[in-house]
Symmetry: D3
C-alpha cells in the first residue's frame, strides 16, 4: 500500500527501515583497514539519501541495479550533518511490483480534473478555426497523455509529473480572470496561446523513470517544437477539411509560442509583437515565479533563518514570513 | 463650451479655424526674399501642429506668449507630408478663460469613480495597521488631490492627467482578480503594495500646465520618494497612536516599492525577495505593456501598414490586427 | 533596352534625362510665394533621388503613382550637397513595359550557374536520406524559384535579388574548401546545413516590387520557418517512401538552422552544440562580414577619406586601403 | 589578559592549547569503526579552525554551545593540508567573561581619534543648514555609537568593527586633499556627502556577536536607508527650528547617497547627476579598491606565487610585488 | 591683434562683422526662384555658424577654400532659432597671416608652466631606472612638443590643444595629494604611470589644423601605442647604458597603460591587477568626469533650465546649480 | 623506452605498476586510528591520479619531491567512483633520466614538418617588405624555438607543447583554402596576419616543466606582446636596411593582432576594421571551436550519454554522435 511508505524527506536519525528504493548510483570502496564496503545513493520522489553497507562482497555489489529498485533493510544515522542510511541487507526488487508514483514526484492535484477544467476554459474561444484546432489537439490521445504526464521543467518550476498541466491550467485561470479587464485583448488568441505556449515540453522532456531531456529536446528545444506541432496539426486539419486554415491565425499562434520567453537571452527567437503575446508572457512568468518563491520558502532547510539561502536564478534570498504577518 | 473645439488630431487639410491654442515655442524668421515671418508650434491635449504667419512685424512676434494661450484665425494645409497651420491673425488669450482640460491630455474615466473603486478594493485588507495606514493616506487631502491628477509617466504609459490613478486601479483590479488563484500570497501586502508602488510619482512629476519632472523627481526619483513617503506616514501614525507600527510591515511595503521595477537596470535598488513583490512587478508590467502596445497600434499613422513603426522601448514593430481576426 | 538607361548612382549635376523611374513617395507643397510644387522621391536599383516639379496642378500631382512607374523629363542639379532632379514633364508608365531588373538590385552573377554549382557541391553528400531530402527540395519548383530570387537580407548583406543564392553558394564553396582540413567534421551534415541555414528567408522576405518582410516573416522569422520547412519536407518524404527519416538527422539539421546565428542575442533559440553547427556559423558570418566590409569600403562616398563613415552594426570605421597596399 | 591569547591565524602544527573559542557549528559523527566523535568549527577574530574530539558521549556533544563560547584543551595538527584542532577536553564558557574584541575583527585604529578627525574635516563646511545637519547627526548618541562600531561591508572591504568609520574617514581625507584641485566643486556638498554616503550601513548590517545583515538591511538596503535617515533628521531639524531646510540641499544630499554606487547594476537607483556625486563615487571606489587589493596581496596564502589567487569580484589575479620593486 | 576678434560664441543677432573665419564646408544652391546662393559653415575655436551669401556666381563659390581661411563682411541674424551669418562679401585669406590660436581651441593655462609643474611632481620618483626613463622622455624634443600640444581627446574631455598636458597634470596633482594617504601604494609606479597613461595620444590624434585621428591612431589606438612607446624608449636606454632595465618595472608600467580604462568594454586589453593601476584608473576617471560635468553645465544653452540637456555618455541630465547653493 | 610506459588515462582498476610519475602535491595525514599516511597527486601527460601510501614515516614523506619525479610501485583501485593508486614503495627519480615528453602533453604531429609547411604557405606573400619581415622572424632562432614549443593556450584549445604551431598552421591552411574565394581580400596581409596573430603567446605562456603564465604574460598579455614584437622586428629591419618599413603595413599587421579576439569583452583593444582582420578572426575562432568541441566529445567520460557534460565556455552540452550518423 502506497501510503505506508516512509519517505526520505521524513527520515529522522535512528530509524529502522525495510522498504524499496530507487538506486541512483553505486560504488565499491575500501576502508583504510582494507575491507570492502558498498556506497550508493537511494532515492524516492521526495529526495535521496547516501547509503553504505559495510563488509560486502563483490557479488552483493554486482547485484545492486543502478536505475533499478532495491529492497533495503537498515537504519538511519547522522553523519557530518546529513543523514545516511546504513544497510544491513538488500536485494533487487522488480519494477513491476513498485508503485511508480512513490519514486517520481507528481502533482498533488487530480490530473483528470485539471484537464477537464482546462478544456472548460478553452470553451470560451469563439473562432471556429481555433475551436477546431483545440478539438483536434484534445482528440490526439498520445499528445494528451503526454500533456497530462509531462513536468513543466527539469528544475525551475513545477518539476514533477503533471507539472505542465498544472502550470498551464494556472496560467489559463489567470488569463480567464484578467481578460475581462482588458477588453481589447483578443481572448481567441490568448486562450489557445496559453494552452500551446509550453506544449513542446511534452517531447522536449523525458519523464519515464526519471526527469531529463530528450535528444530532440536538447537540439531543437520546446519553443521551436511547439511551433512545429502547431504547423503539423494545422496541416492535418487542412487536409481533413480541404480548407485553408487562416494563415494569420497560424502565424500569431506560432508567434505567441516563439515569443513567450520575452527576451532573446532566454531563448525566444522573436520578441512579443502583439498585446496577447505580452499578456501570456507575464502571466506565464508570474505563475513560474510564484512556484519558485513559495517552494524555496517552504523547502528552506533552516527553520531559524528569516531568509532562505541564496537563489542563483533570482539573485536574491527570499524573506520567509511575508505570508503570515 | 468645451465640446465645440476642433482638436488637432482631427484636423484635415483645408480647414478654416478660429480658436485658442497653447503656444509651445516661437521663432522669427526671414524668407529668402527678405521678409519676416512667424514660425511657432501650437498645441492642445491631442497633439501639436507647426504654424506660420507670413509678413509679420516684430510687434506681433513679441505679443505671442510662449507657454501661454493664443487666439488664432487661419487655415490648415499639407506641407511636406504633414499638416501645418497658416495663421491670418492672432492675439494673446487669458489663461483664466481657458478650459484647461482641452490642453492637457487626461484620462477618459471619471476620476472620483476610479478613486472610490480603488478604496473599495483596498477595503479587503484585514491587517489593522495596514488599514490605518491606508486610512491616513486617504485622508491626506493634498496627497489624494495629487494622486488623482498625476500622470503615470511622462511618455511610456498612461502619460496624461489621472493616468497614475487609472494605472493603479488597473493593477489593483488585476490583483483582486488573481489573488484567489494564489492563496499563499498575502493580500494584505499585495493590495497596499499596489496602491503605493508608484505613489512617489505624485511628486516626481510636474503636471500643472504641461508634463515634466520636478527637480526632486530627477535627483531622487519616485522609487525612493515612495519609500520615504511610507516612512513619514508611518512615523506620523506612530506619533498619533503612541504605538509602534510593526517594523516588518513597514520594511516589506518599502521593499515592494523599491523592487517593483524588477531589475537593477531599470532603477530598482532591490530585487524582488518576496512572492508579493513579484506578483506586483508582473501585474504592473502587464498593465503598462497593454497600454503601450494598444496605444501604439491605435495611433499608428499609416492605415495601410500591417505593422506599426519600430518601437524603440520594446524593440519591435507591433502587428496591428491581432485584436480583430 | 536595358543597358541604355542611365542609373541614379551615375548621375552628375547638369544632366538632361528622359526615362522611367519608380516612385517611392510624393507630396504637394506650397512655396513661400504661394504657388504649388510637386516633391517626390524617384528610384531605380542603384538608389534614389529627390525630385521637384515647379508650378504643378493638383491634377498632375494626382496622376503620379506611388509605388508605380513614371516617365520623367528633366535635369539634375546640386542642392544642399546632394543631387536633385528638376522635372519639366512626367506621365505614368505601365509596369508591364518596364525592365524590372532596372528597379530592383540583383546579383551580378548568373543565377542558373550559381544554382547548378550549389547542386554540384551538394552532390558530395553520401547519406541516402540526406540525398533524398536535397533531391526533394531541388524538385520543389516553387521553392527553388524563390530560392533563386530571394535576397539574403534587407540591408545587412547581399540585400538584392539572388542574394540568398549567392551567399549560400559562397558559404558552400567555403565549406567545400575547408572540409578536407577537418576530417572529423561530418560533411553530410555540413553541406545540407549550409544549403538550409537561411532557406526560411524565401518566405520571410518579400521581394516582388521592392524588398520587405512578409507578415509571417516578422511574426515567425526565418530561423523557425526554416526548421518548419525541413520538418514538412521530411514528413512528405516519409509519406512517399513509407519509411521513417532518421530522427537524429532531422533534429541535427534543424539544430543547425536554429543555432546558426550563434548567440541568443541575435535570435538563435539554441546555441551550437555540434562541431558542424559552429563550422557553419563561422563560415556564414565570414561571408556576411566580407560583403559588409567590402561594400562599405567600395560605396563610401568620400574619396579623400582613408576610413569609411562609422558603421553602426560593426561599431567601427573601415580602413579603405588594406586591399591595395 | 587579552594579549596572551594565541590567535588562530598564528597556529602552527603541534601546538598545545588551553583557551576559549567561539563555536560556529557542531556535529556528532560515527567513525567507520562505529564510535562517536564530535566535529565542530572554532573561531576567533582572525579566522576559524576545524576541531575534533574523539570518543565523545552525547552529553558532551549537547554541552557544546553553537554561537557560544567554549574553553578548549587540545593540540593542533596538519590534516589534508590544513590545520585542525584535536580536543582533549572542553566546557562551556560564559560570554560575560570573554574579551569580545578577541572574537570579532576590528579596526586597528583608535575609534575616538578617527571620529574626532572626521568631525574636524567636516568643520570646513560653511553652509549653516549643512552645519546644523552635521551637528544634529553628531549629537545623536545612538547613531554615533553605531557609526563607530559598524563594519563597512560584510566581505568586500573594511569588513570589521569600526570599518565604516575607517572607510568614511579615508574618503573624507581624500576629499579634503583633492577639493583644492577642483575649486568649482562644492565642498559644502562633498563633505557631508562623504559622511552620509554609507550611513545606512549602521542599520543595514548587524554586528553584535558576528557580522550579518538585518532583515531591514536585506529588504530595504543601506542606499535607501541612508536617504530615509537624512529625510528624518532634516524633518526633526525643521520641527525644532520652525524653519524650512532648503529642499535643494536635502535633494542633493539624498541624490549623492542614491547615486554613489555609480551604476544601476550595483544597486544605485539614480546615476550621478552633479559633479559632486561623481567626485564621491570615485573616491569611495578608490578607497574600497585599495583595501581589496592590498588585503588580497597581504593575505595570499602562497608565499612563492608572484600573483594572488583569482579574485572573482575584480576578475583578475593581483601581482604581489608592485609595492616593493 | 588676437584679442580684438569677436568670437562665434559671443555673437548676438544683428551684429556687423568684418573678420577672418575657417571654412568647414561649402555648397552652391538654388533658391526656389532660381537664383544661386552660397551656403557654408564658418568656424573659429569657440564654435561654428552657418553662413549664406545671396546671388553669388560660380566664380565666387570656387574661390571659397574649404579647410582654409576666408575674410568675411556681413551681419548676423536669427533663423529658425539659431544664428546665421549673411555674407555681403568675402575673399580668401592666407593661412600664414592668421593667429592659429583663434581657430583651434586651446588650454587656458600656460603650457610651459604646466610642463614644469609636471616635471616637478615627477621629481619625487626615487627609483633610478624610472628616473632615467622620465629623463629620457623629457629630453625627447619631438615627443615633448607633441605632448604639450596634443588634446586629451576628440570630444569627451579636454578636447583642445594642450588638453593632454592639462589633464595629465591634473591627475598628477591628484596623485601627489592622495599618495600620502595610501602609504602602501608605490609612488614610483604611480607617478610615471600617470605621466605615461595617455602618452599614446600624442600620435593617436592629429591636431594641426583641426582635431582628428591619425590612421595609426584608428588602427592601433593610444593604449597599445603608449605601451609600444615605453618599450622602445626602454630599449634605447638599455642600448645606451648597456644595462638591462628591470623587466618587472617595464611590465608594470605597460600594465598601467593597458589597464587604465578599467574595463574591457572601454578598450582595456588588461584589467587592473595592482593597486597602483586602480589608483590611476580612478583619478584619471575623476578628472575626466569633472571636466565633462562642469563643461556640460557651463555650456548648457538654456539659462532657464535647472538641468542640462541629456548627456548620452553619462546617461543623465546634470543639475546645474549644485555649485552655488 | 618511452612507449613501454602505461599512461594514466589507460589505467584500469586492479593494475600493478612500477614506473615514474611527476608529483604535483603531497600531504601527510593521520587516519582516524592515528597512524600516518602519505596522500599525493601523481601526473603524466595524460592526466593525474590521487595516490596514497599507508603507514609512512616522516622521512618517506620528506623524500617525495613536489614538482619532481618519483619511481612508484603499487596498484590501482576504485575509490568513490574514481581510480586511486595505492603505493607500496617509492623513491625520487632524477629528472635527467626522464623522457620529458611523457609528462607534458604535446602535439601528435611532427613539429618540423608543420613549421616547414607554414613557411611554405607564407611563401605565397608577394610584398617584399612582408617577405623580409617573415624572413627575419623565421631566422630568429630563439623565437622560432619557442614558436615550435609553445602551447596555444592554457586550457581552451591546443593546450599542449607544439599547440601554437599546430593551431597557427591550421588557420594558415584554412586561409590558403579560402583566399581564392575572396579575391578582394589581401593575401599579403592575411598570411602574415595568421602567422603573427598569436605570436605573443611564445612569451605569454611558460611551458618548461608545466604549463602556466609568465609574469609579463599576466600583466601585459599576448595581444599587446605580439604588437610589440612586430614593432621591434620592424625597427630592426629598418636599422639593417636603412629604409623605412611602410607604416601602413606595420599598422595593419598590428591592427590584425590587436583585433583578432573580435570583441572588447575578450580583450581586444581594437575591433576589426579591415576585411582581412575579420577573415582571420573567424578562421581563428573556427579552428579553436573545432578543437574544443571535438576534444570535449572524444574525452567525455560517460560512454552511455548522448551528450557531453555541460561546457561552461560554450554554454551548452555537445551531442556526441553528429560525426557518425
Amino acid at each position: 500500500m502506497k501510503s505506508q511508505r516512509r519517505f526520505i524527506n521524513q527520515f529522522m536519525p535512528g530509524e529502522t527501515l525495510d522498504q524499496v528504493f530507487l538506486v541512483r548510483d553505486k560504488d565499491l570502496r575500501t576502508t583504510t583497514s582494507g575491507s570492502l564496503y558498498l556506497s550508493c545513493t537511494l532515492c524516492d520522489k521526495t529526495g535521496n539519501i547516501p547509503a553504505r553497507m559495510w563488509q560486502v562482497s563483490e557479488g552483493i555489489y554486482n547485484s545492486v541495479p543502478v536505475a533499478g529498485f532495491l529492497q533495503v533493510k537498515g537504519r538511519t544515522e547522522q553523519y557530518r550533518g546529513t543523514l545516511q542510511l546504513i544497510m544491513d541487507a538488500c536485494r533487487p526488487y522488480a519494477a513491476e511490483k513498485v508503485t511508480m508514483a512513490d519514486f517520481l514526484p507528481a502533482t498533488e492535484y487530480d490530473v483528470e480534473e485539471m484537464w477537464a477544467e482546462l478544456l472548460e476554459i478553452l470553451r470560451a474561444v469563439k473562432d471556429k478555426h481555433i475551436r477546431l484546432l483545440i478539438k483536434k489537439l484534445a482528440e490526439d490521445r498520445e499528445l494528451v497523455a503526454k500533456f497530462k504526464r509531462a513536468p513543466a521543467a527539469m528544475q525551475m518550476h513545477h518539476p514533477f509529473l503533471g507539472g505542465l498541466l498544472e502550470h498551464t491550467l494556472n496560467v489559463a485561470r489567470a488569463a480567464r480572470a484578467l481578460l475581462p479587464l482588458y477588453p481589447k485583448i483578443n481572448a481567441d488568441l490568448v486562450l489557445p496561446g496559453v494552452f500551446l505556449h509550453d506544449i513542446g515540453k511534452t517531447d522536449e522532456l523525458a519523464y519515464d523513470v526519471s526527469l531529463g531531456y530528450t535528444d530532440r529536446g536538447q537540439l531543437v528545444g520546446h519553443v521551436t517544437m511547439g511551433a512545429v506541432m502547431v504547423e503539423k496539426k494545422i496541416e492535418q486539419i487542412e487536409e481533413e477539411t480541404s480548407e485553408q486554415f487562416p494563415p494569420a491565425l497560424r502565424d500569431l499562434l506560432q508567434h505567441i509560442i516563439l515569443s513567450h520567453h520575452g527576451v532573446h537571452e532566454y531563448g525566444a527567437p522573436k520578441l512579443p509583437s502583439i498585446p496577447e503575446a505580452f499578456f501570456i508572457h507575464y502571466l506565464d512568468n508570474l505563475d513560474a515565479k510564484m512556484y519558485m518563491t513559495i517552494s524555496a520558502i517552504e523547502n528552506d532547510p533552516d527553520p531559524d533563518a528569516a531568509f532562505t539561502s541564496y537563489n542563483r536564478d533570482l539573485q536574491t534570498r527570499f524573506y520567509k514570513h511575508s505570508g503570515q504577518l
